[in-house]
Protein backbone atom coordinates (compact mmCIF):
# COMPACT_ATOMS: atom_id res chain seq x y z
CA UNK A 1 0.00 0.00 0.00
CA UNK A 2 2.74 2.45 1.09
CA UNK A 3 5.09 1.29 -1.67
CA UNK A 4 2.38 1.89 -4.24
CA UNK A 5 1.75 5.36 -2.87
CA UNK A 6 5.45 6.16 -3.06
CA UNK A 7 5.60 4.91 -6.61
CA UNK A 8 2.67 7.14 -7.48
CA UNK A 9 4.47 10.09 -5.97
CA UNK A 10 7.69 9.37 -7.89
CA UNK A 11 5.69 9.04 -11.05
CA UNK A 12 3.93 12.30 -10.40
CA UNK A 13 7.22 14.16 -9.82
CA UNK A 14 8.84 12.71 -12.94
CA UNK A 15 5.80 13.48 -15.06
CA UNK A 16 5.78 17.05 -13.83
CA UNK A 17 9.53 17.41 -14.50
CA UNK A 18 9.15 16.16 -18.05
CA UNK A 19 6.16 18.44 -18.52
CA UNK A 20 8.22 21.37 -17.23
CA UNK A 21 11.06 20.58 -19.65
CA UNK A 22 8.58 20.54 -22.51
CA UNK A 23 6.96 23.82 -21.53
CA UNK A 24 10.36 25.42 -20.94
CA UNK A 25 11.52 24.75 -24.48
CA UNK A 26 8.32 26.35 -25.78
CA UNK A 27 8.90 29.26 -23.42
CA UNK A 28 12.49 29.72 -24.66
CA UNK A 29 11.45 29.73 -28.31
CA UNK A 30 8.80 32.29 -27.39
CA UNK A 31 11.31 34.46 -25.52
CA UNK A 32 13.82 34.34 -28.37
CA UNK A 33 11.03 35.32 -30.73
CA UNK A 34 9.98 38.25 -28.52
CA UNK A 35 13.61 39.37 -28.14
CA UNK A 36 14.17 39.31 -31.91
CA UNK A 37 10.98 41.28 -32.56
CA UNK A 38 11.70 43.76 -29.77
CA UNK A 39 15.20 44.51 -31.06
CA UNK A 40 14.45 44.37 -34.77
CA UNK A 41 10.94 45.72 -35.38
CA UNK A 42 11.34 49.30 -34.02
CA UNK A 43 13.62 50.09 -36.95
CA UNK A 44 10.60 49.81 -39.26
CA UNK A 45 9.14 52.92 -37.60
CA UNK A 46 12.43 54.77 -37.99
CA UNK A 47 13.17 53.90 -41.58
CA UNK A 48 10.48 53.31 -44.22
CA UNK A 49 10.31 49.75 -45.52
CA UNK A 50 11.25 50.99 -49.00
CA UNK A 51 14.76 51.81 -47.84
CA UNK A 52 15.31 48.16 -46.94
CA UNK A 53 14.18 47.03 -50.37
CA UNK A 54 17.13 48.72 -52.07
CA UNK A 55 20.14 47.07 -53.63
CA UNK A 56 22.93 48.85 -51.72
CA UNK A 57 24.09 47.48 -48.38
CA UNK A 58 26.63 49.79 -46.73
CA UNK A 59 25.26 50.37 -43.23
CA UNK A 60 28.10 52.54 -41.92
CA UNK A 61 26.92 55.21 -44.40
CA UNK A 62 23.20 54.60 -43.96
CA UNK A 63 22.53 52.32 -46.94
CA UNK A 64 20.29 49.56 -45.59
CA UNK A 65 19.21 47.68 -48.73
CA UNK A 66 18.89 44.02 -47.73
CA UNK A 67 17.94 42.69 -51.18
CA UNK A 68 21.52 41.68 -52.12
CA UNK A 69 21.80 39.77 -48.83
CA UNK A 70 18.51 37.96 -49.49
CA UNK A 71 19.49 36.96 -53.01
CA UNK A 72 22.95 35.98 -51.73
CA UNK A 73 21.51 33.58 -49.18
CA UNK A 74 19.00 32.15 -51.68
CA UNK A 75 21.64 31.63 -54.40
CA UNK A 76 24.04 29.80 -52.10
CA UNK A 77 21.22 27.67 -50.67
CA UNK A 78 19.84 26.78 -54.10
CA UNK A 79 23.32 25.82 -55.31
CA UNK A 80 24.02 23.74 -52.22
CA UNK A 81 20.75 21.80 -52.56
CA UNK A 82 21.32 21.21 -56.29
CA UNK A 83 24.67 19.64 -55.35
CA UNK A 84 23.59 17.82 -52.19
CA UNK A 85 20.27 16.37 -53.38
CA UNK A 86 21.57 13.96 -56.06
CA UNK A 87 24.61 12.97 -54.00
CA UNK A 88 22.70 12.63 -50.74
CA UNK A 89 19.77 10.80 -52.26
CA UNK A 90 22.13 8.50 -54.15
CA UNK A 91 23.99 7.69 -50.95
CA UNK A 92 20.72 7.08 -49.10
CA UNK A 93 19.45 4.72 -51.80
CA UNK A 94 22.78 2.88 -51.85
CA UNK A 95 22.86 2.45 -48.08
CA UNK A 96 19.22 1.46 -47.76
CA UNK A 97 18.61 -0.61 -50.88
CA UNK A 98 21.83 -1.80 -52.50
CA UNK A 99 24.73 -2.05 -50.09
CA UNK A 100 25.47 -5.35 -48.33
CA UNK A 101 25.16 -5.28 -44.55
CA UNK A 102 28.87 -4.85 -43.79
CA UNK A 103 29.07 -1.82 -46.09
CA UNK A 104 26.00 -0.30 -44.41
CA UNK A 105 27.66 -0.62 -41.05
CA UNK A 106 30.73 1.28 -42.25
CA UNK A 107 28.90 3.90 -44.32
CA UNK A 108 26.29 5.03 -41.81
CA UNK A 109 28.71 6.12 -39.06
CA UNK A 110 30.97 7.71 -41.68
CA UNK A 111 28.12 9.87 -42.96
CA UNK A 112 27.31 10.86 -39.38
CA UNK A 113 30.98 11.75 -38.87
CA UNK A 114 30.70 14.05 -41.87
CA UNK A 115 27.87 15.87 -40.11
CA UNK A 116 30.15 16.56 -37.17
CA UNK A 117 32.78 18.38 -39.22
CA UNK A 118 33.13 21.94 -37.87
CA UNK A 119 32.27 24.43 -40.57
CA UNK A 120 35.30 26.61 -39.88
CA UNK A 121 37.46 23.66 -40.94
CA UNK A 122 35.44 23.43 -44.15
CA UNK A 123 36.02 27.16 -44.59
CA UNK A 124 39.77 26.67 -44.39
CA UNK A 125 39.65 23.92 -46.98
CA UNK A 126 37.53 26.24 -49.12
CA UNK A 127 39.82 29.23 -48.90
CA UNK A 128 43.12 27.37 -49.34
CA UNK A 129 42.22 24.56 -51.73
CA UNK A 130 38.81 24.85 -53.34
CA UNK A 131 38.74 28.54 -54.23
CA UNK A 132 42.17 28.70 -56.00
CA UNK A 133 41.30 25.46 -57.81
CA UNK A 134 37.92 26.74 -59.02
CA UNK A 135 39.44 30.02 -60.20
CA UNK A 136 41.95 28.20 -62.44
CA UNK A 137 39.51 25.52 -63.56
CA UNK A 138 36.74 27.92 -64.65
CA UNK A 139 39.05 30.87 -65.45
CA UNK A 140 37.18 33.17 -63.06
CA UNK A 141 38.31 36.61 -61.88
CA UNK A 142 38.26 35.25 -58.32
CA UNK A 143 37.61 31.91 -56.66
CA UNK A 144 35.64 33.46 -53.80
CA UNK A 145 32.18 32.94 -55.31
CA UNK A 146 28.70 31.66 -54.57
CA UNK A 147 29.69 28.37 -56.21
CA UNK A 148 32.52 27.83 -53.72
CA UNK A 149 30.05 28.45 -50.88
CA UNK A 150 27.49 26.12 -52.47
CA UNK A 151 30.02 23.31 -52.80
CA UNK A 152 31.00 23.57 -49.13
CA UNK A 153 27.40 23.87 -47.97
CA UNK A 154 26.42 20.95 -50.20
CA UNK A 155 28.93 19.02 -48.12
CA UNK A 156 27.21 20.27 -44.95
CA UNK A 157 23.77 19.32 -46.27
CA UNK A 158 24.59 15.80 -47.50
CA UNK A 159 24.56 14.09 -44.06
CA UNK A 160 21.14 15.59 -43.25
CA UNK A 161 19.68 14.43 -46.56
CA UNK A 162 21.26 10.98 -46.28
CA UNK A 163 20.09 10.19 -42.77
CA UNK A 164 16.52 11.47 -43.17
CA UNK A 165 16.04 10.02 -46.65
CA UNK A 166 17.53 6.71 -45.59
CA UNK A 167 15.06 6.49 -42.70
CA UNK A 168 12.22 7.21 -45.10
CA UNK A 169 13.38 4.49 -47.49
CA UNK A 170 13.74 2.01 -44.62
CA UNK A 171 10.17 2.75 -43.55
CA UNK A 172 8.79 1.54 -46.88
CA UNK A 173 7.25 -1.86 -46.03
CA UNK A 174 9.32 -4.81 -47.40
CA UNK A 175 6.13 -6.21 -48.97
CA UNK A 176 6.28 -3.42 -51.61
CA UNK A 177 9.71 -4.53 -52.80
CA UNK A 178 8.77 -8.21 -52.64
CA UNK A 179 5.70 -7.54 -54.76
CA UNK A 180 7.80 -5.66 -57.34
CA UNK A 181 10.37 -8.45 -57.51
CA UNK A 182 7.61 -11.04 -57.82
CA UNK A 183 6.35 -9.17 -60.86
CA UNK A 184 9.81 -9.45 -62.42
CA UNK A 185 11.00 -5.87 -61.86
CA UNK A 186 14.78 -5.33 -61.78
CA UNK A 187 16.41 -3.78 -58.72
CA UNK A 188 16.64 -0.39 -60.45
CA UNK A 189 12.96 -0.54 -61.52
CA UNK A 190 11.98 -1.38 -57.96
CA UNK A 191 13.95 1.55 -56.52
CA UNK A 192 12.89 4.13 -59.11
CA UNK A 193 9.29 2.97 -59.60
CA UNK A 194 8.26 1.67 -56.18
CA UNK A 195 10.51 2.45 -53.18
CA UNK A 196 11.42 6.04 -54.00
CA UNK A 197 7.85 7.20 -54.82
CA UNK A 198 6.62 5.49 -51.65
CA UNK A 199 9.22 7.39 -49.61
CA UNK A 200 8.65 10.64 -51.51
CA UNK A 201 7.38 12.72 -48.64
CA UNK A 202 10.28 11.60 -46.43
CA UNK A 203 12.71 12.66 -49.14
CA UNK A 204 11.02 16.06 -49.39
CA UNK A 205 11.29 16.46 -45.62
CA UNK A 206 14.99 15.64 -45.93
CA UNK A 207 15.42 18.37 -48.53
CA UNK A 208 13.54 20.91 -46.40
CA UNK A 209 15.63 20.14 -43.33
CA UNK A 210 18.77 20.45 -45.45
CA UNK A 211 17.60 23.85 -46.72
CA UNK A 212 17.10 24.94 -43.14
CA UNK A 213 20.56 23.73 -42.21
CA UNK A 214 22.21 25.44 -45.19
CA UNK A 215 20.49 28.82 -45.00
CA UNK A 216 21.58 29.26 -41.40
CA UNK A 217 25.19 28.23 -41.96
CA UNK A 218 27.60 31.09 -41.31
CA UNK A 219 31.29 30.48 -40.84
CA UNK A 220 32.20 28.56 -43.98
CA UNK A 221 30.11 30.92 -46.11
CA UNK A 222 31.70 34.01 -44.62
CA UNK A 223 35.16 32.69 -45.44
CA UNK A 224 34.64 31.68 -49.07
CA UNK A 225 31.88 33.69 -50.76
CA UNK A 226 33.75 37.01 -50.94
CA UNK A 227 31.01 38.90 -49.03
CA UNK A 228 30.36 41.41 -51.80
CA UNK A 229 26.84 42.78 -51.22
CA UNK A 230 25.52 43.04 -54.77
CA UNK A 231 23.02 41.17 -56.93
CA UNK A 232 24.83 39.22 -59.65
CA UNK A 233 23.55 39.14 -63.22
CA UNK A 234 21.56 36.04 -64.15
CA UNK A 235 24.28 34.60 -66.40
CA UNK A 236 26.93 34.76 -63.70
CA UNK A 237 24.68 33.93 -60.80
CA UNK A 238 26.81 31.14 -59.34
CA UNK A 239 30.26 32.41 -60.30
CA UNK A 240 29.95 35.87 -58.72
CA UNK A 241 30.93 36.79 -55.18
CA UNK A 242 27.85 37.24 -52.96
CA UNK A 243 27.11 38.12 -49.35
CA UNK A 244 24.67 36.12 -47.24
CA UNK A 245 22.42 37.30 -44.41
CA UNK A 246 24.19 35.11 -41.86
CA UNK A 247 27.68 36.34 -42.82
CA UNK A 248 26.45 39.93 -42.58
CA UNK A 249 25.09 39.44 -39.06
CA UNK A 250 28.21 37.59 -37.93
CA UNK A 251 30.74 40.05 -39.29
CA UNK A 252 28.93 43.26 -38.34
CA UNK A 253 27.25 42.49 -35.01
CA UNK A 254 30.52 42.71 -33.09
CA UNK A 255 31.10 46.33 -33.98
CA UNK A 256 27.73 48.08 -33.91
CA UNK A 257 26.64 50.31 -31.07
CA UNK A 258 23.79 48.64 -29.16
CA UNK A 259 20.42 50.14 -30.06
CA UNK A 260 21.66 51.97 -33.18
CA UNK A 261 19.81 51.75 -36.50
CA UNK A 262 22.49 49.44 -37.85
CA UNK A 263 22.09 47.14 -34.82
CA UNK A 264 18.32 47.03 -35.22
CA UNK A 265 18.68 46.38 -38.95
CA UNK A 266 20.89 43.37 -38.21
CA UNK A 267 18.11 42.07 -35.95
CA UNK A 268 15.62 42.71 -38.75
CA UNK A 269 17.78 40.46 -40.94
CA UNK A 270 17.66 37.96 -38.07
CA UNK A 271 13.85 38.12 -38.15
CA UNK A 272 13.86 37.49 -41.92
CA UNK A 273 16.11 34.45 -41.37
CA UNK A 274 13.85 33.26 -38.56
CA UNK A 275 10.82 33.57 -40.87
CA UNK A 276 12.64 31.58 -43.55
CA UNK A 277 13.43 28.68 -41.23
CA UNK A 278 9.91 28.85 -39.74
CA UNK A 279 8.35 28.52 -43.20
CA UNK A 280 10.76 25.72 -44.11
CA UNK A 281 9.96 23.85 -40.90
CA UNK A 282 6.21 24.27 -41.39
CA UNK A 283 6.52 22.84 -44.91
CA UNK A 284 8.61 19.94 -43.60
CA UNK A 285 6.10 19.16 -40.84
CA UNK A 286 3.13 19.38 -43.23
CA UNK A 287 4.79 16.97 -45.63
CA UNK A 288 5.71 14.42 -42.98
CA UNK A 289 2.30 14.51 -41.30
CA UNK A 290 0.68 13.90 -44.67
CA UNK A 291 2.82 10.80 -44.98
CA UNK A 292 1.42 9.53 -41.70
CA UNK A 293 -2.17 9.95 -42.86
CA UNK A 294 -1.54 8.12 -46.10
CA UNK A 295 0.12 5.17 -44.40
CA UNK A 296 -2.84 5.01 -42.01
CA UNK A 297 -5.14 4.91 -44.99
CA UNK A 298 -3.08 2.14 -46.55
CA UNK A 299 -3.13 0.07 -43.40
CA UNK A 300 -6.87 0.30 -42.90
Amino acid sequence: MLAAKQQNLTELVITRLIQLAGYLSILFVGLICIFLLKEGLPVLFEIPLVRFLQTTWYPIEGYYGILPLLTGSLIVTLGAILIALPLGLGTAIFISEVAPNWAKEILKPLVELLAGMPSVVLGFIGILVLSPYLRRLLDLPTGLTALTGSLLLGWVAIPTIVSVAEDALNNVPPSYRQAAWALGATQWQTIWGITLPAARSGVLTAVMLAVGRVIGETMAVMMVTGNAPYIPSLLKVFISPIRTMTATIASEMGEVAKGSTHYQTLFLIGIVLFLFSLIINIIAVTISSRRLKRSERLLS
Binding site: E61, G254, V256
Partner: protein, 306 residues
Protein backbone atom coordinates in the same frame (compact mmCIF):
# COMPACT_ATOMS: atom_id res chain seq x y z
CA UNK B 1 58.20 35.04 -39.48
CA UNK B 2 55.45 37.47 -40.31
CA UNK B 3 53.65 34.79 -42.26
CA UNK B 4 53.21 32.72 -39.12
CA UNK B 5 52.33 35.70 -36.99
CA UNK B 6 48.63 35.00 -36.62
CA UNK B 7 48.84 31.49 -35.13
CA UNK B 8 51.63 32.84 -32.99
CA UNK B 9 49.33 35.54 -31.66
CA UNK B 10 46.77 32.96 -30.64
CA UNK B 11 49.48 30.93 -29.01
CA UNK B 12 50.72 33.93 -27.07
CA UNK B 13 47.17 34.78 -26.04
CA UNK B 14 46.72 31.23 -24.80
CA UNK B 15 50.00 31.47 -22.92
CA UNK B 16 48.98 34.77 -21.42
CA UNK B 17 45.64 33.34 -20.41
CA UNK B 18 47.40 30.39 -18.82
CA UNK B 19 49.86 32.68 -17.04
CA UNK B 20 47.19 34.96 -15.68
CA UNK B 21 45.27 31.97 -14.32
CA UNK B 22 48.32 30.70 -12.52
CA UNK B 23 49.12 34.15 -11.24
CA UNK B 24 45.58 34.51 -9.98
CA UNK B 25 46.09 31.45 -7.83
CA UNK B 26 49.35 32.80 -6.51
CA UNK B 27 47.78 36.16 -5.79
CA UNK B 28 45.24 34.65 -3.48
CA UNK B 29 48.11 33.42 -1.32
CA UNK B 30 50.31 36.48 -1.65
CA UNK B 31 48.09 39.54 -1.99
CA UNK B 32 51.07 41.83 -2.58
CA UNK B 33 52.14 40.02 -5.77
CA UNK B 34 49.83 41.49 -8.42
CA UNK B 35 49.05 45.08 -7.65
CA UNK B 36 47.43 46.03 -10.93
CA UNK B 37 45.41 44.39 -13.66
CA UNK B 38 45.07 46.22 -16.98
CA UNK B 39 42.64 45.02 -19.64
CA UNK B 40 43.18 46.15 -23.21
CA UNK B 41 41.03 45.45 -26.25
CA UNK B 42 40.45 46.85 -29.72
CA UNK B 43 42.04 47.17 -33.15
CA UNK B 44 43.05 43.93 -34.86
CA UNK B 45 45.78 45.87 -36.65
CA UNK B 46 47.36 46.65 -33.29
CA UNK B 47 46.86 43.30 -31.55
CA UNK B 48 50.36 41.94 -32.33
CA UNK B 49 51.92 45.17 -31.17
CA UNK B 50 49.85 45.41 -28.01
CA UNK B 51 50.68 41.81 -27.11
CA UNK B 52 54.42 42.36 -27.61
CA UNK B 53 54.28 45.49 -25.45
CA UNK B 54 52.30 43.74 -22.73
CA UNK B 55 54.69 40.80 -22.70
CA UNK B 56 57.79 42.97 -22.33
CA UNK B 57 56.19 45.23 -19.75
CA UNK B 58 55.11 42.27 -17.60
CA UNK B 59 58.64 40.86 -17.68
CA UNK B 60 59.93 44.10 -16.25
CA UNK B 61 57.00 44.70 -13.90
CA UNK B 62 55.91 41.33 -12.53
CA UNK B 63 53.38 43.03 -10.28
CA UNK B 64 51.32 44.25 -13.25
CA UNK B 65 49.15 41.94 -15.29
CA UNK B 66 47.97 42.97 -18.75
CA UNK B 67 45.48 41.15 -20.96
CA UNK B 68 45.10 42.01 -24.63
CA UNK B 69 42.34 41.03 -27.06
CA UNK B 70 41.47 42.09 -30.61
CA UNK B 71 38.06 42.50 -32.21
CA UNK B 72 38.34 45.81 -34.04
CA UNK B 73 38.68 49.47 -33.10
CA UNK B 74 34.91 49.90 -32.75
CA UNK B 75 34.59 46.90 -30.43
CA UNK B 76 37.47 48.20 -28.31
CA UNK B 77 35.95 51.64 -27.92
CA UNK B 78 32.50 50.27 -27.08
CA UNK B 79 34.14 47.94 -24.53
CA UNK B 80 35.88 51.01 -23.06
CA UNK B 81 32.58 52.88 -22.82
CA UNK B 82 30.86 49.82 -21.32
CA UNK B 83 33.62 49.68 -18.73
CA UNK B 84 34.83 46.16 -19.56
CA UNK B 85 38.36 47.27 -20.51
CA UNK B 86 40.76 49.93 -19.19
CA UNK B 87 42.45 50.83 -22.47
CA UNK B 88 41.04 50.68 -26.00
CA UNK B 89 43.38 50.26 -28.96
CA UNK B 90 42.13 52.06 -32.06
CA UNK B 91 43.58 52.41 -35.50
CA UNK B 92 41.32 55.44 -36.10
CA UNK B 93 40.41 58.45 -34.03
CA UNK B 94 37.31 58.13 -31.84
CA UNK B 95 34.11 59.10 -33.69
CA UNK B 96 31.96 62.03 -32.61
CA UNK B 97 29.04 59.72 -31.70
CA UNK B 98 31.31 57.43 -29.69
CA UNK B 99 32.66 60.43 -27.82
CA UNK B 100 29.11 61.53 -27.07
CA UNK B 101 28.18 58.06 -25.84
CA UNK B 102 31.19 58.07 -23.54
CA UNK B 103 30.29 61.50 -22.20
CA UNK B 104 26.69 60.38 -21.64
CA UNK B 105 28.10 57.51 -19.61
CA UNK B 106 29.96 60.09 -17.53
CA UNK B 107 33.46 59.59 -18.92
CA UNK B 108 36.01 61.93 -20.42
CA UNK B 109 38.02 59.80 -22.89
CA UNK B 110 41.70 60.60 -23.32
CA UNK B 111 43.56 59.99 -26.55
CA UNK B 112 47.21 58.92 -26.86
CA UNK B 113 49.14 58.48 -30.10
CA UNK B 114 51.26 55.38 -29.51
CA UNK B 115 52.65 54.45 -32.95
CA UNK B 116 52.17 55.02 -36.66
CA UNK B 117 50.99 52.67 -39.34
CA UNK B 118 51.10 52.73 -43.10
CA UNK B 119 48.61 50.96 -45.34
CA UNK B 120 50.30 49.11 -48.17
CA UNK B 121 48.45 48.58 -51.43
CA UNK B 122 49.30 45.10 -52.63
CA UNK B 123 48.99 43.07 -55.82
CA UNK B 124 50.11 39.65 -57.00
CA UNK B 125 53.83 39.48 -57.98
CA UNK B 126 52.79 38.34 -61.48
CA UNK B 127 51.05 41.68 -62.01
CA UNK B 128 53.34 44.02 -64.03
CA UNK B 129 51.74 47.14 -62.50
CA UNK B 130 54.00 48.43 -59.73
CA UNK B 131 53.06 52.08 -59.20
CA UNK B 132 49.73 53.92 -58.96
CA UNK B 133 48.54 57.39 -58.03
CA UNK B 134 46.03 57.94 -55.23
CA UNK B 135 43.52 58.98 -57.92
CA UNK B 136 44.00 55.71 -59.80
CA UNK B 137 43.57 53.61 -56.63
CA UNK B 138 40.46 55.63 -55.80
CA UNK B 139 39.05 55.04 -59.31
CA UNK B 140 39.73 51.30 -58.98
CA UNK B 141 37.84 51.06 -55.69
CA UNK B 142 35.01 53.30 -56.94
CA UNK B 143 34.51 50.81 -59.77
CA UNK B 144 35.53 53.25 -62.53
CA UNK B 145 38.58 51.26 -63.64
CA UNK B 146 37.77 47.59 -64.13
CA UNK B 147 40.67 46.15 -66.12
CA UNK B 148 44.41 46.13 -65.45
CA UNK B 149 44.89 47.05 -69.13
CA UNK B 150 43.73 50.61 -68.35
CA UNK B 151 46.63 50.94 -65.90
CA UNK B 152 49.30 49.58 -68.22
CA UNK B 153 48.93 45.99 -67.05
CA UNK B 154 47.68 42.81 -68.68
CA UNK B 155 44.17 42.34 -70.02
CA UNK B 156 42.73 41.00 -66.78
CA UNK B 157 39.66 41.96 -64.74
CA UNK B 158 40.40 43.78 -61.48
CA UNK B 159 39.23 41.99 -58.33
CA UNK B 160 38.97 44.52 -55.49
CA UNK B 161 39.60 43.28 -51.97
CA UNK B 162 38.85 45.16 -48.79
CA UNK B 163 38.63 44.54 -45.07
CA UNK B 164 35.14 44.27 -43.53
CA UNK B 165 33.34 47.50 -42.63
CA UNK B 166 33.97 46.91 -38.90
CA UNK B 167 37.72 47.28 -39.41
CA UNK B 168 39.41 50.60 -38.68
CA UNK B 169 41.58 49.95 -41.71
CA UNK B 170 38.43 49.90 -43.89
CA UNK B 171 37.17 53.25 -42.65
CA UNK B 172 40.62 54.82 -42.92
CA UNK B 173 41.09 53.56 -46.48
CA UNK B 174 37.59 54.76 -47.46
CA UNK B 175 38.22 58.27 -46.18
CA UNK B 176 41.84 58.70 -47.24
CA UNK B 177 42.02 56.82 -50.53
CA UNK B 178 38.57 56.17 -51.99
CA UNK B 179 37.33 59.67 -51.11
CA UNK B 180 40.82 61.18 -51.35
CA UNK B 181 40.43 62.88 -47.98
CA UNK B 182 37.40 64.91 -49.11
CA UNK B 183 34.93 64.71 -46.21
CA UNK B 184 32.01 65.98 -48.35
CA UNK B 185 32.48 63.13 -50.82
CA UNK B 186 29.89 60.44 -50.12
CA UNK B 187 31.26 57.82 -52.55
CA UNK B 188 31.42 54.29 -51.23
CA UNK B 189 33.32 51.21 -52.33
CA UNK B 190 32.16 49.64 -55.58
CA UNK B 191 29.47 47.11 -54.51
CA UNK B 192 31.34 44.19 -56.04
CA UNK B 193 34.31 44.79 -53.73
CA UNK B 194 35.05 41.60 -51.82
CA UNK B 195 34.90 42.26 -48.08
CA UNK B 196 37.15 39.75 -46.38
CA UNK B 197 36.92 39.18 -42.63
CA UNK B 198 40.67 39.10 -41.91
CA UNK B 199 44.08 40.42 -42.96
CA UNK B 200 45.07 36.83 -43.64
CA UNK B 201 42.16 36.41 -46.05
CA UNK B 202 43.34 39.39 -48.09
CA UNK B 203 46.98 38.27 -48.14
CA UNK B 204 45.95 34.72 -49.13
CA UNK B 205 43.80 35.91 -52.03
CA UNK B 206 46.38 38.43 -53.33
CA UNK B 207 49.16 35.85 -53.09
CA UNK B 208 47.13 33.44 -55.16
CA UNK B 209 45.18 35.61 -57.60
CA UNK B 210 46.89 37.74 -60.30
CA UNK B 211 43.66 39.76 -60.78
CA UNK B 212 43.46 40.95 -57.20
CA UNK B 213 44.30 44.27 -55.61
CA UNK B 214 44.10 44.65 -51.84
CA UNK B 215 45.28 46.77 -48.99
CA UNK B 216 46.53 45.95 -45.53
CA UNK B 217 48.64 47.30 -42.71
CA UNK B 218 52.34 47.39 -43.57
CA UNK B 219 52.97 45.13 -40.58
CA UNK B 220 50.97 42.31 -42.16
CA UNK B 221 52.49 42.36 -45.64
CA UNK B 222 54.44 39.22 -46.53
CA UNK B 223 57.20 38.94 -49.17
CA UNK B 224 54.95 36.81 -51.42
CA UNK B 225 52.86 39.84 -52.44
CA UNK B 226 53.99 42.94 -54.33
CA UNK B 227 53.72 46.34 -52.64
CA UNK B 228 52.64 49.20 -54.92
CA UNK B 229 54.51 52.53 -54.91
CA UNK B 230 51.94 55.31 -54.42
CA UNK B 231 52.02 58.94 -55.56
CA UNK B 232 49.91 61.73 -54.04
CA UNK B 233 48.89 62.87 -57.51
CA UNK B 234 49.84 62.78 -61.19
CA UNK B 235 53.38 64.04 -61.71
CA UNK B 236 54.39 63.51 -58.09
CA UNK B 237 56.99 60.94 -57.04
CA UNK B 238 55.91 57.33 -56.46
CA UNK B 239 56.83 56.27 -52.93
CA UNK B 240 57.05 52.79 -51.44
CA UNK B 241 55.89 52.54 -47.82
CA UNK B 242 58.75 52.19 -45.33
CA UNK B 243 59.73 53.48 -41.90
CA UNK B 244 61.53 56.44 -43.46
CA UNK B 245 58.81 57.40 -45.94
CA UNK B 246 56.10 57.25 -43.28
CA UNK B 247 58.08 59.30 -40.78
CA UNK B 248 58.98 61.99 -43.33
CA UNK B 249 55.34 62.00 -44.51
CA UNK B 250 56.20 61.34 -48.15
CA UNK B 251 54.11 58.14 -48.23
CA UNK B 252 50.49 59.25 -48.55
CA UNK B 253 48.55 56.39 -46.88
CA UNK B 254 49.82 56.51 -43.30
CA UNK B 255 48.01 57.07 -40.02
CA UNK B 256 48.44 57.28 -36.28
CA UNK B 257 47.56 54.44 -33.91
CA UNK B 258 45.81 55.37 -30.67
CA UNK B 259 45.17 54.17 -27.17
CA UNK B 260 42.16 55.53 -25.33
CA UNK B 261 41.43 55.64 -21.63
CA UNK B 262 38.15 56.58 -19.94
CA UNK B 263 39.67 59.31 -17.80
CA UNK B 264 42.99 61.06 -17.32
CA UNK B 265 45.09 57.95 -16.55
CA UNK B 266 46.43 57.39 -13.04
CA UNK B 267 48.59 54.81 -11.29
CA UNK B 268 49.46 51.63 -13.18
CA UNK B 269 47.68 52.69 -16.37
CA UNK B 270 49.57 55.99 -16.49
CA UNK B 271 52.88 54.18 -15.90
CA UNK B 272 52.08 51.81 -18.73
CA UNK B 273 51.12 54.56 -21.18
CA UNK B 274 54.29 56.47 -20.33
CA UNK B 275 56.32 53.34 -20.95
CA UNK B 276 54.57 52.69 -24.30
CA UNK B 277 55.97 55.88 -25.81
CA UNK B 278 59.46 55.30 -24.38
CA UNK B 279 62.36 54.47 -26.66
CA UNK B 280 62.37 50.84 -25.53
CA UNK B 281 58.69 50.26 -26.38
CA UNK B 282 59.02 52.13 -29.67
CA UNK B 283 61.80 49.71 -30.70
CA UNK B 284 59.21 46.92 -30.48
CA UNK B 285 56.98 48.97 -32.80
CA UNK B 286 59.71 48.98 -35.46
CA UNK B 287 60.43 45.27 -35.07
CA UNK B 288 56.78 44.46 -35.87
CA UNK B 289 56.70 46.37 -39.14
CA UNK B 290 54.89 49.43 -37.78
CA UNK B 291 56.43 52.86 -37.68
CA UNK B 292 57.67 54.33 -34.41
CA UNK B 293 56.90 57.81 -33.15
CA UNK B 294 59.65 60.30 -33.74
CA UNK B 295 61.15 61.23 -30.40
CA UNK B 296 60.15 64.87 -30.89
CA UNK B 297 56.47 63.80 -30.91
CA UNK B 298 56.73 61.92 -27.64
CA UNK B 299 56.52 65.04 -25.52
CA UNK B 300 53.21 66.08 -27.06
CA UNK B 301 51.62 62.64 -26.83
CA UNK B 302 48.36 63.80 -25.34
CA UNK B 303 46.25 65.24 -28.09
CA UNK B 304 43.31 67.45 -27.28
CA UNK B 305 39.94 65.97 -28.17
CA UNK B 306 37.46 68.40 -29.60
Amino acid sequence: MRKGAFPLVFFIMLLLAACSNQRAEITSELPSQASAYIQISGSDTMVNLALAWAERYQQEHPDVRISVTGGGSGSGISALINGTVDIANASRAIKEEELQKAQQAGYNPQQFVVARDAIAVIVNPQNPVSQLTMQQISAIYRGEINNWKELGGENRPIVRLSRETNSGTHVYFLETVVRLGNSKDKTIFSPDTLLLPSSEGIIAEVRDNPNAIGYDGLGYVVPEVKVIAVARGPGEPFVLPSVETVNNHSYPIARDLYMYTREQPRGAIKDYLDWVVSREAQEIVVSLGFVSLEQSDVGSKTAKLD
